[in-house]
């Protein structure tokens, strides 16, 4: 019996060995992309992603998108948007949106067990709320850039479905990133002449931040509609400044920096117990302390957040010969950190549970081989070391979300206008023709 167990352990180590090579986790898959973005080389970043997904062109989707590749497609969609290639960005966002939703729906108990026993990244990816809300928000922006209100309305409705799901089913209070989505949805329905629907979305947007940029336009719109809420009523009480009805409008959306991506950490259990004592239950702490005292292969692997990029930059927008005042619409970086704080404890506990499971496997092999068997000891250590190496921290996330997004909404007389958007050395310059009562949405995503 002992012979059989030792052989099984050796056999398992041999079978698993090939997977030890290249198990760098998601952050390793995106390293080239991040490096290219840091250098301001968006096309190089797309090339790196295409290589990682094994696709031959920017238009091609990976053969298997129903896995972690969905995140790479999301990254590519963001970078395409930063290059103002809105059709390609739409294709990527929409394919990834469906895949991420499918992964979320397919997540089951087996995934959770795998995360607690085998590896942090063994389960299917579950996107946090801000990521799911941002997919539809940024895709709506693609449609608005192209003046396609039909497409933008579809994305606004998709955003509402996910919002309702978080609010009503998961009982999660409103997410601050929804402010920007609601603002864009309000703009979409306003320009589609669906006044009450627009007011409903604007009302949602107004609860998250100041959004002074839309107070005047919303007050003027509210006078034409019947939707009322305490916020809308308050705006109506202020006397909105009169405007020339022939004027057009430009909505500027500027994203800059990148949210923190996740990186793998590997620390001894003793240090983990010191650093994360508050997150661990008393029973787990006793078991982990016992292992820490033995000092053998007692490392825990877990993900943590890397520093954000460029969130303190000062973006500028120049319209003809004047600068436009931007206003912060959403601090995505802060939302990423807040969400991380909520789940950090669970992640540490699952990492310690995995470590205890590895130790138990080692003990089992040692017991089967005999207490004093050197071979058994070696097999036990080999099995634990193998399982430790296989325990890849879950570093999956949408890494190319801008750290912050700012907006401005300005009225302009009909005619030609030149705009110049600048953030962190990324620029977009464009000439716009605004018709009488017309509109345009111009964005810049400086993902550096």
């Amino acid at each position: 019996m002992r012979d059989v167990l030792v052989r099984v352990a050796s056999a398992a180590a041999l079978v698993i060995a090939p997977w030890l090579v290249g198990c760098g986790g998601h952050e390793a898959r995106t390293l080239k992309m991040r490096t290219a973005l840091d250098a301001g080389d968006a096309k190089g970043a797309i090339k790196a992603l295409n290589e990682e997904m094994d696709v031959g062109s920017d238009k091609e989707l990976p053969k298997d998108i129903m896995g972690d590749n969905a995140l790479l497609v999301l990254d590519r969609g963001s970078i395409q948007q930063s290059l103002a290639r809105f059709d390609l960005s739409k294709q990527d966002f929409e394919a990834a949106d469906k895949a991420i939703d499918m992964l979320d729906l397919a997540h089951n108990a087996g995934d959770s067990i795998g995360e607690y026993v085998f590896s942090g990244s063994s389960g299917k990816y579950r996107a946090p709320p801000y990521e799911k809300l941002m997919i539809n928000t940024l895709d709506m922006l693609n449609y608005l850039e192209q003046g396609d209100l039909n497409g933008a309305r579809v994305e606004a409705r998709r955003l509402s479905v996910i919002h309702r799901y978080y609010r009503d089913t998961l009982k999660q209070p409103d997410n601050p990133v929804l402010g920007l989505g609601s603002l864009l949805a309000g703009f979409t329905f306003e320009k589609s002449n669906e006044t009450d629907e627009a007011l409903r979305y604007y009302d949602e947007a107004l609860q998250f931040a100041g959004f002074r940029a839309i107070e005047g336009p919303v007050a003027r719109l509210a006078a034409q509609g019947s939707y009322r809420s305490p916020r809308i009523k308050a705006l109506l009480e202020k006397e909105p400044a009169s405007v020339n009805p022939d004027d057009g409008e430009i909505l500027f959306v500027v994203g800059y920096g990148r949210v923190p991506h996740k990186i793998g950490e590997r620390i001894p259990i003793g240090l983990a117990l010191t650093l994360y004592a508050d997150a661990i239950s008393p029973a787990d702490r006793v078991a982990a302390n016992k292992l820490a005292l033995q000092g053998l292969v007692t490392w825990i692997n877990f993900p943590t957040l890397a520093p954000a990029k460029g969130k303190y930059a000062v973006p500028t927008v120049r319209l003809d010969d004047r600068y436009v005042q931007l206003e912060e619409a959403v601090d995505v970086d802060r939302e990423v950190r807040a969400e991380w704080k909520k789940i950090e404890g669970k992640i540490i506990v699952s990492a310690i549970t995995r470590m205890i499971a590895r130790f138990a496997v080692g003990q089992g092999i040692q017991a089967a081989a005999g207490k004093d068997s050197v071979g058994g000891l070696l097999a036990s250590l080999a099995a634990q070391a193998t399982l430790t190496a296989l325990d890849t921290p879950d570093t999956r996330s949408w890494e190319t979300l801008p750290a912050r997004i700012a907006i401005a909404r300005v009225r302009v007389p009909p005619g030609r206008h030149r705009v110049l958007l600048d953030a962190r050395g990324w620029q977009r310059s464009q000439e716009l023709v605004i018709q009488k009562g017309g509109w345009a949405v111009v964005s810049l995503m400086a993902l550096r």
């Binding site: 298997d64 729906l105 479905v161």
Partner: protein, 203 residues
Amino acid sequence: MPLRFLSTRSLGAVLALGLPLLVTGCGKEVIRGADDPSVDAHALSTGLDKEDLKRALRDTLNKLRVSPVMNEWRTTNPQPVVAIFPFQNTTSEHIESALDTILSEAETWLLESNVVRVVSRERQAEMIREVEGQQNAVFNPANAAKYGKQLGAKYFITGKVSGNDERSEDMRRVQYFLYMQVIDVETSEIRFQAKSEITKAIK
């Protein structure tokens, strides 16, 4: 007990276990729907596919076939001119290409029925540009009667697809409602209306 290396038999078992894992994912096959009709039978997403469109159109056009307005067309001489305008998408899915297919199928069906003359879609696009202006040449349902008049059409066919999209922890369901209308250009009277329903879900 000294550590023993694997016997030949164990090595064989290991290879037998490991190889299938290594070859997983190799080789995809391209299938022709005409050779394997089951390809069309599976739903792949909550969007509208060929099977959904076929079913919805069959229901709707069968209702149109026996409707009073169709009977009137059969006996009208000269044949009335009919324009087919885009269907509005008020769902949460990007189904514009599916809606285009519906329009083309309806157009083909009408031409084959040989009871009306149908305005070409290219001419309609020109007319929309004329009415809405070059920069925003998008079909506006509020101006449908205006387009129809300028095209010399007696009737126009239009419609919309609305949807109810719901999400729970383990399921996403989209219920589509396809409405088709025949409207008299002069009076704006709805001469025919039919609804068909399609439900798609991921669970």
